[in-house]
């Protein structure tokens, strides 16, 4: 019988169907971080339970840890140190692999898991973080869970879940210059709503997805959760195999050959059926930016904030009214030229080396507008080191950006680090919720190129209009 990619992974991990119709699904990898990992490990130990396979559990310090140079266990977040130290203690006691502060492998979970080859095609991976779907870009079934589910996965190596419905989002056509995977996913969510993918495992496919680099596919999959999807994934291809080869946790020798042979079969059969199919021509997409407080509040950069009567439902109009008041905008306002206070390049969406290269190509030889506070947070210590080897850090620093250590905290105001009250932040992150990057901050989501271009002019700027340099 013809099967979709997700169905193949599902079938290979289905331990059994339970009497109520849910399934026990085998979990190959669990990834933890210090904010909820500490609680999950502690709670497991308190109930006298053990981690079933410590060698299949990994943990990083990314959520609360400072991004300031010279950081240690002390963080801006009140009591942040307690989370860090509890995680270290519990990880050691449980015998799991920890990428601690100071470890050259440390970084944001969804950046380092692919980087180290921990996530691989066809496996199941869960992490108590909603953006775990990022890792689906490698052809794995990877999804976010809560802390209790993390305890369950560690204790039993399984989860009890419903089989999600299957959706394929088919991207065809050719991307215009300065249009990226970030613009593709924002475009999709704005078109079909933040609830559009609910209950579905979404396969991103089509020529425009095949043309994307592995890192760009991660950006695409990263925001599947903002579309309310169970997860997002892309079928592995030669690019995926090339990406994984030689990475520390990737198979080696004969094991590699066996794995590659298996990975080659991990694709949707030609006549396999999906519950829902969406087709998008990427040639219609321009650099995309959010105007409100949900990722669905997005439009092309040359457009204006929509008239409320063009929105689909009463609910959507009410939400948009509130969002516009919060963002200090109104229908008909132009996004281009809107003054910004801050620029942020980082987060599990856009903090990989390619993102930094794209931003740097725009920033090279230019200066950030004097009124703009600009921060770059590389996604991992390895990304940071690579950028420094290429001299990208100097481009950011010369332009007036702060150059930080890897972590999540500037992305979601982990209690300490934040942009100021009512500051308008142009951000490469994934959420523009109220107060997401600090009390009453006004976040606009965009690609690294759009953020870099806007930082220079001090207002929302179309990256297509900015000359770039190859340095």
């Amino acid at each position: 019988m013809s099967k979709t990619l997700f169905q193949k992974i599902w079938d290979a991990h289905k331990v059994k169907q339970l009497p109520d119709g849910t399934y026990l699904v085998y979990i190959d990898r669990v990834f933890l971080h210090e904010r909820t990992g500490s609680i999950a490990l502690q709670s497991l130990a308190e109930t006298g339970r053990k981690v079933r396979h410590p060698d299949q559990v990994f943990c990083t310090m990314d959520h609360i840890v400072d991004t300031f140079p010279g950081r240690g266990d002390e963080t801006v977040m009140p009591s942040g140190k307690d989370f860090i130290q509890a995680t270290r203690k519990e990880a050691k006691a449980a015998g799991i692999t920890l990428f601690d502060i100071g470890d050259e492998r440390q970084g944001i979970a969804h950046v380092i898991s692919p980087e180290l080859g921990i996530v691989q095609p066809g496996l199941t991976l869960v992490c108590p973080d909603s953006h775990t779907c990022t890792q689906g870009a490698l052809g794995a079934a990877a999804w976010g869970i809560g802390s209790s589910e993390a305890e369950h996965a560690m204790a039993t190596q399984t989860l009890r879940i419903n089989k999600p419905k299957l959706m394929r989002v088919w991207f065809e056509g050719e991307l215009n210059s300065s249009v990226t995977a970030k613009d593709m996913i924002l475009h999709l969510i704005s078109k079909f709503g933040a609830h559009g993918g609910a209950g579905h495992a979404i396969e991103f496919a089509g020529p425009a997805v095949e043309a994307l680099s592995i890192e760009a596919r991660m950006t695409l999959c990263n925001m599947a959760v903002e579309f309310a999807a169970f997860t997002g994934l892309v079928a592995p291809d030669q690019k995926t195999i090339d990406y994984l080869q030689g990475r520390p946790y990737a198979p080696k020798g004969e094991q590699w050959d066996t794995a590659v042979e298996y990975w080659h079969n991990l694709r949707t059969d030609e006549d396999a059926l999906f519950d829902t199919e969406i087709k998008i021509d990427v040639a219609d997409i321009e650099p995309t930016i959010t105007w409100g407080t949900s990722p669905q509040h997005a439009c092309g950069i040359s457009q204006t904030v929509p008239e409320l009567n063009t929105l689909a439902s009463e609910d959507a109009r009410t939400a948009a009214t509130r969002a516009l008041a919060y963002q200090d905008l109104k229908s008909g306002d132009k996004l281009l030229g809107l003054k910004i206070d801050c620029a942020f390049i980082g987060s599990c969406t856009n903090s990989r080396i390619e993102d930094l290269r794209k931003a740097a190509a725009i920033l090279a030889g230019k200066k950030v507008a004097t009124h703009v506070k600009a921060i770059c947070v590389p996604g991992s210590q390895q990304v940071k080191a690579a950028a420094e080897r290429e001299g990208l850090h100097q481009v950011f620093l010369d332009a007036g950006f702060e150059w930080r250590e890897s972590g999540c905290s500037m992305c979601f105001y982990a209690g300490g680090e934040h942009f100021g009250k009512q500051q308008r932040v142009l951000s490469t992150s994934n959420r523009n919720f109220e107060s997401r990057q600090g009390p009453e901050t006004r976040t606009h989501l965009a690609s690294p190129e759009t953020v870099a271009a806007s930082a220079i002019y001090g207002c929302i700027t179309d990256p297509r209009a900015v000359p770039r340099s190859d340095r």
Partner: protein, 208 residues
């Protein structure tokens, strides 16, 4: 886990769509390595006049006297979307919320509710509106009754709505069962499966 059988309680409408877990509990409110001590941070950005202050915002619905002791939330589409933080559910539980009725939920949030004794009830938008319209006339007295065994929500004026729930999760909620314990009843099958996958996909398990 606290069992859920039937519950009769005061219902508050928070009918916005896409209420995310950052709004349910902001990041700055998760201060201790614990599942406890989070109730005070519930809806902190809306509930208090200033971030980090504890001065109540009189305009926020749960602070209004007619909604004192609310135990049921009526919400819009996609309630609990966003971050996976289970703290949102722990905060709701500590505040005293026992059930949330909405047209749809964030997927991770829904599971988190199930694992912590809060009943997430999926009803149509129209049903949620009807329940809201009726209860807001006198919230302290027009309480909603939720019966998990019968899978029904009833209002004092006779509205009746049935809802779906997986039988496994229903069983766990009704009896306050620990899901790990329940799953470990299948230990033999898990072990057998595990041996087979470790053989078939051996490259996945040899690297450490």
């Amino acid at each position: 886990m606290k069992a859920f059988t039937t519950h009769c309680g005061i219902a508050a409408p928070l009918l916005r769509i896409n209420i995310d877990t950052d709004a349910i509990i902001p990041s700055r409110e998760m201060r201790r390595v614990s599942k406890k001590g989070l109730g005070e941070g519930l809806f902190a950005s809306w509930r208090y006049v200033m971030p980090d202050s504890r001065e109540l915002n009189p305009d926020f619905i749960l602070n209004k006297p007619e909604y004192a002791n609310t135990t049921v939330l009526l919400a819009g589409n996609n309630f609990g979307c966003g971050s996976s933080r289970e703290h949102a559910v722990w905060a709701l539980a500590e505040y005293g919320i026992r059930a949330i009725i909405a047209p749809s939920f964030g997927a991770i949030f829904y599971q988190n509710c199930m694992r912590n004794g809060i009943l997430p009830v999926v009803l149509s938008n129209e049903a949620v509106m009807q329940l809201s319209d009726e209860t807001l006339q006198d919230p302290q007295h027009l309480k909603l009754k939720i019966d998990l065994q019968e899978q029904k929500v009833e209002s004092p004026h006779g509205l009746k709505f049935e809802f779906d729930i997986e039988t496994g999760s229903k069983e766990m909620l009704l009896n306050g069962l620990d899901s790990i314990g329940v799953t470990l009843q299948h230990e033999k099958e898990i072990s057998a499966f595990e041996q087979q996958v470790r053989k078939q996909h051996s490259w996945l398990y040899l690297q450490n």
